[in-house]
């Protein structure tokens, strides 16, 4: 409005950025947004909670308020640092933080911007809508990973050396756990990105899935449990899950042979199918769907 400006270099590039290029730019735009969204409070809780619990445990141990042994749900367990760490990986991260983060972020990849009525700015730019979804999904993955994984590492160093555990001996387990959690974040995120694109009230659907469907179906014998994510994740778990209790992993391995638990290969393939299939379907839906913004 001041002096007539020089027009910027003409950006008319008829072919436009590639799908991947668009994904990268959307990722770039969304990452900071996501990290500082109002969900940060929630994130801090999810990520800081286990660390706080680990600190409390250290304190309890240093004050000698600890029995090096006990029962969990009637099963005897020799409790040492690695066992507590396994417990926390299962109880906190795998069955709580990761699905919840997947639901909260996955369902709101697009919904957040629709609710804030800012989606218009992204959908009136020369990027495929699918790239918007995938870029935001990647931003979620990196954002959640950057918060969850360091928290796991902190917990590992706080908890594993307790009660005679060895950091060195537990290190391979840590690597496996980190990989497992990253995979979990990817799978739940993709699944709930699809749910978010599919349903009008995705959050309730998501909560019903992780807290209603998964825990119930996973214990039902037969093929039903193949429709859960945790079934496939179990195939990758280095720690015995609570269902397996203090009984040895020998039994676990035999159960695996009997297909009560999937093998790591089946688990990985199943998870890959969920991630790729979920994202592909979600992309399709987003490309075709109209978003009528409330005024």
């Amino acid at each position: 409005m001041s002096s007539p400006h020089e027009p910027p270099p003409s950006p008319s590039r008829p072919d436009g950025p590639s799908f991947l290029g668009s994904v990268a730019r959307i990722y770039d735009l969304s990452f900071g947004q996501m990290l500082w969204s109002r969900r940060t409070v929630f994130m801090v809780l999810v990520v800081g909670g286990p660390v706080a619990v680990a600190l409390i445990l250290r304190l309890l141990v240093s004050m000698d308020l600890f029995d090096a042994g006990g029962e969990i749900d009637g099963r005897p367990v020799n409790i040492d640092g690695p066992v507590i760490f396994g417990l926390m990986i299962w109880g906190f991260y795998l069955s709580f933080s990761v699905p919840l983060l997947g639901v909260f972020y996955g369902t709101s990849l697009i919904a957040d911007e629709v609710e804030d009525r800012t989606i218009t700015y992204l959908f009136t730019r020369p990027v495929p809508r699918g790239a918007v979804l995938v870029g935001k999904y990647l931003a979620y993955l990196v954002c959640a990973g950057l918060l969850v994984l360091p928290s796991v590492v902190l917990v590992f160093f706080l908890v594993v050396p307790l009660l005679g555990g060895s950091v060195g001996a537990g290190f391979p387990d840590l690597l496996k756990d980190l990989a497992l959690l990253a995979v979990g974040l990817a799978v739940y995120g993709a699944l709930f990105a699809l749910v978010g694109a599919l349903f009008k009230r995705p959050l309730l659907t998501g909560l019903v899935f992780i807290f209603g469907w998964e825990p119930v179906v996973i214990v039902v014998p037969g093929y039903m449990k193949r429709f859960t994510v945790s079934y496939y994740l179990q195939g990758l778990v280095p720690h015995a899950m609570p269902e397996d209790g203090g009984v040895t992993s020998l039994v676990l391995r035999v159960l695996q042979a009997n297909e009560i638990l999937p093998s790591a290969t089946v688990g990985l393939v199943g998870l890959a199918v969920i991630v790729i299939g979920g994202l592909a379907l979600a992309v399709r839906l987003v490309e075709r769907r109209e978003y009528v913004l409330e005024q």
Partner: protein, 333 residues
Amino acid sequence: MMASMSRRTRYVALASGGVLAVGLCGGLVAYLNRDAAPGAASDALAELAFVPPHATALAFADVRAVMASELRERVRRIAPDGVGREQLERQLGLDIERDIDRVLVFWAPEPDAAAAEEDGSSGLALFRGRLDAERLEAVARRGGAEVTEEDGLRIVTREIEGAGALAMAFLEPGLVAVGELAAVRSAARRGPGGDGIDADADMMRLLGRVDDRSSFWAVGRFGDSGLLGWVPEQVSERLPPVAAFAVQGRINGGVSVSLAVEGRDDAAAQNLRDVVRGFVALAQLQTLGNPDLQAILDSLQTGGDGTAVTLSLRVPAEAIDFLLSMLASGEAS
């Protein structure tokens, strides 16, 4: 890509990446140094370096866990004196209960007849714990043992009537080998750097079946030169054709045990499974009306496929009380 991040975002990304990197590096260093670390007491596999590749049976016990368990308390209540404990303490100055963290015992018959003659026997027990070499030597001397030095290795020996020489030596700080003199010498020669059992793929596969956190475990195989040579022929003929076994357990109030057996082939395994099922059914008949024993049998699970047969059970604390009381009354009568 990072260029458009705000400074705040960059700090968070750097901080969290930093925590991750430092943690992973620290963990890796700890992992690589875990053998060298003097306090790496919980690493069960460090002693395996002293086990020769041809070993046919290994057994391990996490003494500290067992001693700290409720089960031990119960046993102590019924049988106050540890069997053999005093003897070891008197002769070699070892107090199992206080000094030992864990024990690894192996059996490795020499395949080579000449070597066998030289070495005599090939079983050895390795004790890991808070052990003071000077104190042990002093105690052992008082008990009548002799101390000799061979290639920088101090060996405490004591003749035992009818059983040859019992020897003890520190293979490394905190690790004592006890066994016949020849076996101790052989283990010391092998050292932690040489070809250990980890060179034996067959055995390592068996060991892989064992959970690191078991309170005790034992594995063994019945090769041509294995246990079958040691078991009397009449017995081995009647045994089902078993190739290998792994047993392991956890102790607390009760005991959880699981046993895996590998048959020589699928048919043998099927045969074994049938035998086990028959046994279970028989046992169930026998224990009708006894809720404690019934509970044990209820927890008993059998399974396996291919050449494997598995069996797991949990003996709850009450049942142990019952069993111990039966034992005690049996001794009394």
